[in-house]
């Protein structure tokens, strides 16, 4: 089977999410990668070095600069004439593009796979991760999005793929990119951080969140996450949200501070290796999944913890 992997990038650097997809694609067959963008030659060279990639297809066109699905999907659909499966990371980019490709190919997409069980059989979470479905596709071609935390990352060195240019990109004239506001952060990116410190509504305000959570995260070299309640209350920006409707993370250590543990939040973090919960309510559901729990007032316990590390 010839697979085509969507490379996530910002026209300068390949994003980590791509590497887990390469691993998943390798379980199906020969791995080809698609770098679609504008002035993205450097990205193609990075991808060519990734272990396991046989060929890198590069589509370099102004219409592809911002990854608009209307311009990208027809290009992918055309490449799928000579590939059997299209795999994209289950990031906002992958989720935006892949179903549009699937419909153009008249196939059902398999979303957010956790494992490859056979050439056409996969597992995926449903009901906010409260059940795992094993599904088999009857379609001639596969379109799949891959949960990044469920697969190991392919090595970024050791490969020597051929780079081939792909033509035929054009502006579909349906949509226009106007602007992007990307939150600047020196911290490890949430979905690839080894340690995450996450805060909930119990923090009470954005100032308290900053005052209590940030020093602990700094001390641990951790990424910072939040529950939906903390995001909705405006303590932190949207993209901090961990959960069914936010980001899915699986770090080595997840520290949940003042988070009760609603099922929608657990859906985003319960595959973390070790979960640590600090909460003053000893009946909070978070303690049912926590490996280490501390029943204490976070406003005294967290600064004390930060001081003693």
């Amino acid at each position: 089977m010839k697979t085509l992997v969507w490379v996530e990038h910002d026209n300068a650097v390949m994003k980590d999410a791509t590497l887990a997809v390469v691993t998943a694609a390798g379980k199906l067959g020969e791995v080809h990668a698609l770098v679609a963008g504008s002035g993205c030659g450097a990205v193609a060279e990075q991808v060519a070095k990734v272990a396991g990639v046989a060929t890198v297809h590069v589509a370099d066109d102004a219409s592809l600069e911002h990854g608009l699905a209307e311009n990208v999907a027809p290009l992918v659909a055309k490449l799928m004439e000579s590939h059997d499966a299209f795999l994209a990371p289950a990031t906002t980019t992958g989720k935006n593009i892949a179903p549009r490709v699937a419909a153009l190919l008249d196939v059902m997409q398999i979303s957010d796979i956790l494992s490859v069980e056979g050439p056409k059989t996969f597992t995926r979470p449903i009901y906010a991760g409260n059940a795992i479905a094993t599904v088999e596709s009857s379609d001639a071609k596969l379109v799949i999005t891959v949960r990044g935390t469920a697969f190991d990352k392919a090595a970024t060195e050791g490969g020597s793929a051929a780079i081939e240019a792909v033509g035929g990109a054009s502006d579909a004239g349906l949509s226009t990119f106007l602007s992007a506001e990307i939150a600047k952060s020196e911290r490890p990116e949430l979905t690839s951080a080894k340690i995450i410190v996450s805060g909930g509504r119990a923090l009470g305000s954005g100032e308290k969140f900053e005052e209590v959570i940030t020093p602990l995260a700094d001390k641990l070299g951790a990424g910072i996450g939040a529950s939906r309640a903390a995001v909705d209350a405006g303590y932190v920006p949207n993209d901090y949200q961990v959960g069914q409707t936010g980001k899915i993370v699986a770090p080595e250590v997840y520290v949940a501070v003042g988070i009760s543990g609603a099922i929608q939040h657990l859906a985003g973090m319960k595959d973390s290796k070790t979960i640590i919960a600090i909460n003053k309510d000893e009946d909070a559901p978070i303690f049912q999944v926590a490996d280490i729990g501390l029943v204490a007032d976070l406003f005294t316990a967290v600064p004390e913890l930060t001081g003693k590390l």
Binding site: K95, Q109, N238
Partner: protein, 249 residues
């Protein structure tokens, strides 16, 4: 402009789903069902656009069993003008729903179709994008802000790392994210009025769409259970545990 809002009847988001012992699926017998939360946000946004004088009619549509009428009545009680139920007891996958909605769109000629970004039962996050592909329209997924101006719609999208703003020519597809708005509650008088609003019932056959599933669910299992953890007495004990793991050492 007319706005079409597809809505789905799903398990209530507060209910913890139980996997059936025989592994065939999730037990939905006697479980509270509600409108998919992202679809409530889509209905709300459509109503706000109408209230701002930028749309004349809001039409809710659902694909599902006879009981999905209740979901459509909820949309009507919120303020939608009329509803269409495409009734079937079969499992309908996003691709088939998108094909049915494409037929409805061809009949209704909406300027905008507002969908939820994903249903909280199958967690697919596909239908809006597939519908956009089938119709050949622009798509703005994960909408955080929507503004309609003449024959275009400008949407700020929630993306990993921040927000991206795009402008689409209408007709267009928009899928809602959680923070787009706070859906209203239906008042009792509006619930009563909704009972008199038109609700057409159709079948997939009326639209000539083959809804046969492409995916076969071989089994549904419980996720792996985490082994029971411990509680530590104080911060010193927690620091000790962290150092054992090599964290913060």
């Amino acid at each position: 402009m007319k706005i079409l809002v597809p809505v789905k009847r799903v398990i209530d988001y507060n209910v913890k789903p139980r996997v059936k012992a025989d592994g065939t699926g999730v037990d939905l017998a006697n479980v509270k069902m509600s409108m998919n939360p992202f679809d409530e946000i889509a209905v709300e946004e459509a109503l706000r656009i109408k209230e701002a004088g930028k749309a004349e009619e809001v039409v809710a549509v659902s694909v599902g069993p006879a009981k999905a009428q209740e979901t459509l009545r909820t949309a009507l009680a919120m303020g939608a003008d009329r509803a269409i139920l495409i009734e079937t007891d079969e499992t309908v996958e996003p691709l088939a729903v998108a094909k049915l909605l494409a037929k409805v769109a061809a009949e209704e000629n909406p300027g905008l179709i507002l969908l939820g970004k994903q249903a909280i039962d199958d967690d697919s996050n596909q239908t809006g994008q597939m519908l956009a592909a089938l119709l050949g329209w622009g798509q703005a997924t994960f909408a955080n802000t929507v503004s309609v101006e003449g024959d275009s719609v400008t949407v700020a999208r929630e993306i990993d790392g921040g927000l991206q703003t795009v402008k689409l020519n209408t007709p267009a597809i928009v899928t809602t994210d959680l923070r787009l708005n706070e859906p209203r509650y239906a008042s009792l008088p509006n619930i009563m009025k909704a009972k008199k609003k038109p609700l057409d019932t159709k079948t997939p056959g009326d639209y000539g769409v083959d809804i046969a599933p492409r995916l076969t669910t071989l089994k549904v299992t419980e996720p792996p259970v985490r082994s029971a953890g411990i509680k530590v007495a104080d911060v010193d004990a927690l620091v000790g545990k962290l150092k054992e793991m090599g964290v913060g050492a």
